[in-house]
């Protein structure tokens, strides 16, 4: 009998039965923070990589002991959970220099010795042959350290298997993404995001089996039963709350595409299974749907966005960013300028704090006004119909 899984529930917490089961079997767990982390390398070492976040955090008091109020709330909430010992399943931490807020966590983890294994991975900010060579050296250094610390051997075969497994996850998430992009959509944007988030804190082999079932349910949905509404693309940094998209969709819009770092940015583009596995991991880190941290990729980011707007027949774009996120703050301004020139598509910019329950009213008002603007420009309106399927 098929296991019934509530992916939205899974997405609502890092802790879950699959993680507990993994821990209970005595196998190690390493936390990481960003889509630029080499998850496959950890998996090949017999380690469960879990993408960390502050979900469940009630306040930032512990994080505030080490980070200032000008550091972003995602990082302060997450650090609070770590410092409170709430993420006690962690055997190690892998920090990448994704942004200044995240990279400085490494300093706190080191100074406070919060976990036995702590590694800083210096991911280049340019995509070049030289930076590729540097990243592969970094990855080989990490491989050696993992082998030594955890007493394992990471074989080429294990790495290839890990890449295949992770590519399968990416493909499944891509399928979910395509379903919400249909016209009318068979899946909602919040469902697709929940699936993506759920995949980050459980073993991928288990996830893939469960996701197959969930997707099959979605694919059985009758698309004709969903009337058309304004089709939105949401982009931005850390958004690990499907409820945020759910609220937007509850007002009659469909989030048909995203460029979020917990969404498409995390699963777009597969690793090459035909080349050396470390090379493949490095290539994907440098080349997959780029983040604003990559200095030389703005033209590609803009092209990706314009292509998505065209492919998914997007009526409007919502840009969300966490307060104090410099990278997305600048990126959104650049995109707004470019879009004004190149497409004229309406854009709504939303700034938010992480994990605050408040703000829903304000969000509703602003989105409502935006949707009205879109409808004046001719975007369709629709009523919401709740359906069964992916939970």
């Amino acid at each position: 009998m098929a296991e019934v899984v509530d992916f939205k529930l899974l997405a609502g917490s890092i802790e879950n039965p699959y993680l507990e089961e993994w821990k209970a079997s005595g196998r190690p767990v390493v936390g990481f923070f960003c889509a630029h982390a080499p998850e496959e390398l950890l998996w090949a070492a017999g380690i469960l990589p879990v993408r960390l976040r502050g979900t469940g955090s009630q306040d930032t008091s512990y994080g505030d002991q080490y980070l200032g109020s000008f550091n972003c709330s995602f990082v302060r909430h997450t650090l609070s959970r770590v410092m409170k010992g709430e993420l006690s399943f962690l055997d190690g931490l892998l920090v990448t220099n994704s942004c200044d807020h995240i990279r400085r966590l490494f300093d706190v983890f080191t100074a406070k010795e919060v976990v036995p294994f702590n590694h800083y991975l210096d991911v280049p900010h340019l995509n070049s042959e030289e930076s590729f060579a540097r990243l592969t050296a970094e990855l080989r250094g990490l491989q050696t350290k993992l082998e030594s610390f955890f007493g394992v051997t990471i074989s080429r075969e294990a790495l290839s298997d890990a890449i295949e497994l992770y590519n399968r996850t990416r493909a499944l998430l891509g399928r979910a993404s395509a379903l919400r992009g249909e016209d009318p959509p068979r899946a909602s944007g919040s469902e697709a995001l929940a699936l993506s988030i759920a995949s980050t804190s459980m073993p991928k082999d288990r996830f893939n089996r469960l996701a197959e079932q969930g997707l099959a349910e979605l694919e059985r949905r009758d698309p004709a039963s969903r009337s058309a509404g304004p089709r939105l693309l949401v982009l931005g940094g850390t958004l690990d709350q499907p409820g945020y998209l759910e609220l937007i969709e509850s007002m009659g819009a469909s989030v048909v595409a995203d460029q979020l770092c917990w969404g498409s940015k995390s699963f777009a583009d597969l690793a090459n299974q035909e080349i050396d596995p470390i090379d493949a991991i490095a290539r994907r880190i440098l080349e997959h749907m780029p983040c604003p941290r990559m200095l030389d990729q703005y033209p590609r980011r803009l092209t990706n966005l314009l292509e998505a707007v065209k492919q998914y027949r997007v009526d409007g774009i919502i840009c969300e960013r966490l307060k104090f996120c410099d990278l997305w703050g600048g990126e959104i301004e650049m995109l707004r300028r470019s879009l004004k020139q190149e497409s004229g598509i309406p854009v709504l910019v939303l700034e938010r704090d992480y994990a605050t329950a408040g703000g829903a009213g304000q969000l509703r008002t602003r989105v409502q006004a935006f949707l009205e603007t879109l409808s004046r420009k001719g975007a369709p309106q629709r009523t919401i119909e709740h359906q069964g399927g992916l939970r």
Partner: protein, 429 residues
Amino acid sequence: MGRMSSAPPMRFMREKIETQYKPALEMLRADLIPHGRLIAGGLELAIAHYEETFRAMDERHKKLGWYSFCLTPELFLAMDILPFLGESHPVTVTRVSPELCWEYVDTAEAAGLPSELCALDKFIYGAMLKNEMPKADFIVTGSAPCDSSRIGYQMFEQLADCPVFRLDAPVEDSREAHLYYAGEIRKLIGFLEEQTGTLLDPDRLREVCEESNRATDAFLDLFELRRARPCPQAGAVTAGAYMAMVTQLGTPELTGYLEFLRDDAAQAVAEGRGAVAEERHRVFWYCVPVTFDLGLHEWLEENFRVVVLMDQLGSFCREDPIDTTSLDTMLVDLARRGLETTMSRLRVTADKMKEQFLRDYKDLRADCVVFPAPAGCKHAWAWLSLLKETCREREIPICSFDLDWMDSRIRSVDSIRSAIEEFFTTVME
């Protein structure tokens, strides 16, 4: 995307040079301002540099290369390119005209930039929109030090009408990191050759590097002399010397100025003469200066008999000389210097920063630390607590407060001085 105006670039700055900077220079030369005789040389270099920049834009007699805190200027000088450090301009302007900083910051924020970006980047963006940044032939930037500059230079590129070259700066502070960055600089040379139409002459680079080494030697001597008790020169002198260093390393004019300062300091030490009468406290000023409070050093000196020995900006200059044996050795050492420039050094881990902090604090024979934590600097805010712990463990008194180091509307001069006063009248009393 082009600039917003077709008027000659930096019109306001051209006017300021004539109406404000040159008269100020005369006052300094006449020693009508405290320590004026010593500071004058730095301002003189700055004025000459601006005039040369205006000339390069107007007459196009040489290429104007805008670079960021990821390089020192020797390579540009060797290729007869006029180097312009983008980050130095906001500091220079704000020192004399804080209200201009407000105008540019407001312009940037009105255009959509988030208020919490570093004021330096907001200033530059706003100034670009106002046509008050140089019209460069190209821009060279790197991936250090911070998110604000990483996204900032991508935004500047959107406004600029020129090619941009980027260097990837590794986090590590190691031989391997220097070699990698030297490779990045080697690629930069190809870009510069393309832009200028001339090939780099290694012998000319050697000459510039040797000149740079002479300046560094003088600066290191100066550093040693500042360890004397009483400290022979005021903090304002060091701050001015620093600005000259980052923009003009490799020029004989800079070397001459630093040698002048060194000789003056040596004489003062020999005579037992201090910059502050009856020196009481010796501050290691960590992090950024308060750019809009030109009278801060004097106020500290007069009210608390405090001398600012060095700030974190200036201490980067404690660097080994460039090995001029070959092009390869020069590039590796230029890489090391580029990575160790003021802000780029923030790329390293807290352990490394702590090591450098404790080294400088001890070597300078400081007895307290002032740490102004700028609102836009996420590094500073993530590092301050660990620094305070380090200070507590070693019983180093530390005064920290928040501010925007360029925008006095965020925290006023009075409020900043009040925080410092409280420290010196309680903790240090």
